[in-house]
C-alpha cells in the first residue's frame, strides 16, 4: 500500500507569502505614489486642518500643538485599520477569497501575514507625522525622549494593526468592513484625545475611549514627548501591549467564528 504525502505550506511560508503578496492585491499598494501620499500628505493635511480649526476657535499655541500631535498619531488609522479592512474587501470584489479559504493554509499565518506591511507603513506614517509636528507645528520633542517615543510608536502601530485585523474578520461576514473602518476613524477623532483631552468628555464616553488602542497609544506618545518617567511609560506600554494582544487574540477568534458563519450563510462571496 503506498502512502501519498499531501503538501502543506509551512506557517512561516504562508505568513511571508501573505505579508509580501497581499498588499499587492490591494490596488493602492501597487503604486509607490499612493503609499507615499498616505505617508507624507495625509498626516500634513489632517494636522493642518485641525490646527487651523483650533486657531479659529481661539486656541493658544499649546492647544494647537496638542491637536497637531494628536492628529499626527491618529492618521495611523488609514494605514492600519483601513488598509487591513480593505484587503479582505478587495479579495471579495476580486472573487479570490473563497479560493484562499479553500486552501489548507494556516489561518493564523494567512491573516497575520497581512498585517506586516501595514505595520511598517503605520510606523512610517506616525514617524512622518511626528516630524511634521516638531518641525512645522512647534511640538517640543526633546532628543532624550526619542527612544521612549520610538517604543510607544512601535507598540501603537502593532496595536492599531491588530485592531484593524479584528475589524477585518468581521468583513468575512459583512458585505464590507470599510464601514467599520470609517466608524472607528471618526470615533477616534472624538474619543481618543486627538483634538482635545479625553478628560473633557463625559465619563461614560471616556470609558468607551479607553477601549480603543489609539487612546492608549496617543497617551503613551504624549507622555514620552513630555519626558514622563519610565515607570509611567511602562504602565502605558503595558496597556498598549495588552490592547494589541487582545486585538490580535480577538482577531484570531473572530476570523474563525465569522469564517464559519459566512460559509454557513453564504455571505463569504457577497459584497
Amino acid at each position: 500500500m503506498s502512502s501519498v504525502t499531501v503538501p502543506r505550506s509551512s506557517f512561516l511560508r504562508t505568513f511571508w507569502t501573505n505579508a509580501v503578496f497581499a498588499p499587492r492585491t490591494t490596488l493602492g499598494f501597487m503604486r509607490v505614489d499612493f503609499v507615499l501620499g498616505t505617508v507624507f500628505i495625509i498626516p500634513l493635511t489632517q494636522m493642518a486642518f485641525f490646527a487651523f480649526v483650533v486657531r479659529l476657535g481661539g486656541g493658544d499655541p499649546s492647544q494647537i500643538q496638542f491637536t497637531a500631535l494628536g492628529n499626527a498619531v491618529a492618521t495611523v488609522t488609514y494605514s492600519s485599520v483601513f488598509s487591513v479592512c480593505q484587503t479582505t474587501d478587495s479579495e471579495k470584489w476580486q472573487g479570490t477569497l473563497e479560493h484562499i479559504l479553500v486552501t489548507p493554509a494556516s489561518r493564523l499565518a494567512l491573516y497575520f501575514g497581512r498585517g506586516l506591511i501595514p505595520i511598517l507603513i503605520s510606523l512610517a506614517t506616525v514617524s512622518v507625522g511626528l516630524t511634521y509636528a516638531a518641525v512645522l507645528f512647534g511640538v517640543p520633542i526633546p532628543q532624550g525622549t526619542i527612544p521612549e517615543l520610538a517604543v510607544s510608536v512601535v507598540l501603537t502601530a502593532f496595536a492599531m494593526v491588530g485592531f484593524g485585523l479584528l475589524l477585518g474578520g468581521v468583513a468575512l461576514y459583512l458585505r464590507t468592513s470599510i464601514i467599520l473602518g470609517n466608524i472607528f476613524l471618526f470615533i477616534g477623532l472624538l474619543l481618543s484625545g486627538v483634538n482635545f483631552p479625553a478628560s473633557a468628555l463625559p465619563p461614560a464616553l471616556q470609558y468607551v475611549g479607553d477601549a480603543l488602542p489609539l487612546t492608549w497609544g496617543l497617551t503613551a506618545i504624549r507622555a514620552a514627548t513630555a519626558g514622563d518617567s519610565l515607570g509611567t511609560l511602562a504602565v502605558l506600554w503595558g496597556a498598549i501591549a495588552l490592547a494589541a494582544a487582545l486585538s490580535f487574540g480577538a482577531a484570531i477568534f473572530l476570523w474563525q467564528v465569522f469564517e464559519r458563519r459566512a460559509l454557513s450563510t453564504g455571505s463569504i462571496a457577497r459584497f
Binding site: 490596488l27 503604486r31 480649526v53 476657535g57 466608524i183 471618526f186 477623532l189 482635545f196
Partner: protein, 269 residues
Amino acid sequence: MSVALGTAYSRRRSTFAALRLSVLLFMADPQWLIPSMIAPVIFGLVSFELFRGYGTYYLTYAILGAGMMSMWGQTLYGSGWATGQDREFGTLEPTIQAPTPYLYVVLGRVLWNVVSGLIGGAIVYLVVVAVAGGPPALPDPAAFVVLFLFVMLTLAAVGVVFAAFYVYTRYAGFIQNIGEFAFYIGTGCMFPVVFLPFWTNPISLIFPPTWALDALRFEAIPGYQGFSWGFWPDIAGAVATTTAYLALAGSFFHRVERHVLEEGTLSDY
C-alpha cells in the same frame, strides 16, 4: 415588424433613473447609514468642543463647520465613489455603452448625495443644538436656509466634475483619500479661507463652495471677517464658478470618456 426602441433617451429621465438606482442600492445595503449618521455626530461634537473659545457665534461656527464636513464628504465624493463601484461591479461598461451620456447618470447620483448630505447636516444641527442646550442665534433663518441650499448646489457642481476622475482612472479613490483634508482646508469648510496664507487664496477661489460658504458666513455670523469684497461679490463668484463647472462638465466628461476608450481602461478595476 420590430422597431429599435432605444433611440430617444431623455437626459432628465436618465438622471432620475440614476437617482432611483442610488436609492435602491442604498436601501439594499443600508449599513452605510451608520457612518453617514455617525460621522456628522462626531464632527459636530468635535467642532463644538474646538469652537468653544470662539465667542458668541461659536455654536453657528460649530454647526456650519461640522455640517459642511459631513456634506462635503457625501456630496463631493459620494458620486465619485459610486462610479468607482461601477468599475468594481463591472457595470461601468454597459452604462457607458448606453446612449445616455454618463454625465447624466452622475447627476442623478449627485442629487441623491445632496439629499443624504442634507440629512447629515440636519443630524449635525440636532446633535450640536442638543449638546449646547439651545439653537444658534441666526439673524435671518430663512436666508440661512436658502444660502445653505445654495452651498449644496455649488458642492454638487464640484462633485459632478470629481466623478469624472473615477471614470478616468481606477485610482481616483486613492487620490481622493490623500487630498480630502487638503480640499476641506482649501475651500474653507471648517474655517474661513482668509485664515490661510494669502498665496493659497487663488487656488481656493477656483472652487465654487469657497465663495458660497464665505457668503453664508457673512449672512449667518454678524461681524464675520471673510473675503474683503463682501457678501454680494461672493454670491456672484459662486454663481459664476458653479455655472462654469456645470458648463464644462459635459465636455470634460466627453474628453475623459474618449481618453478611457483610447487607453482601453474602462474595464479595469
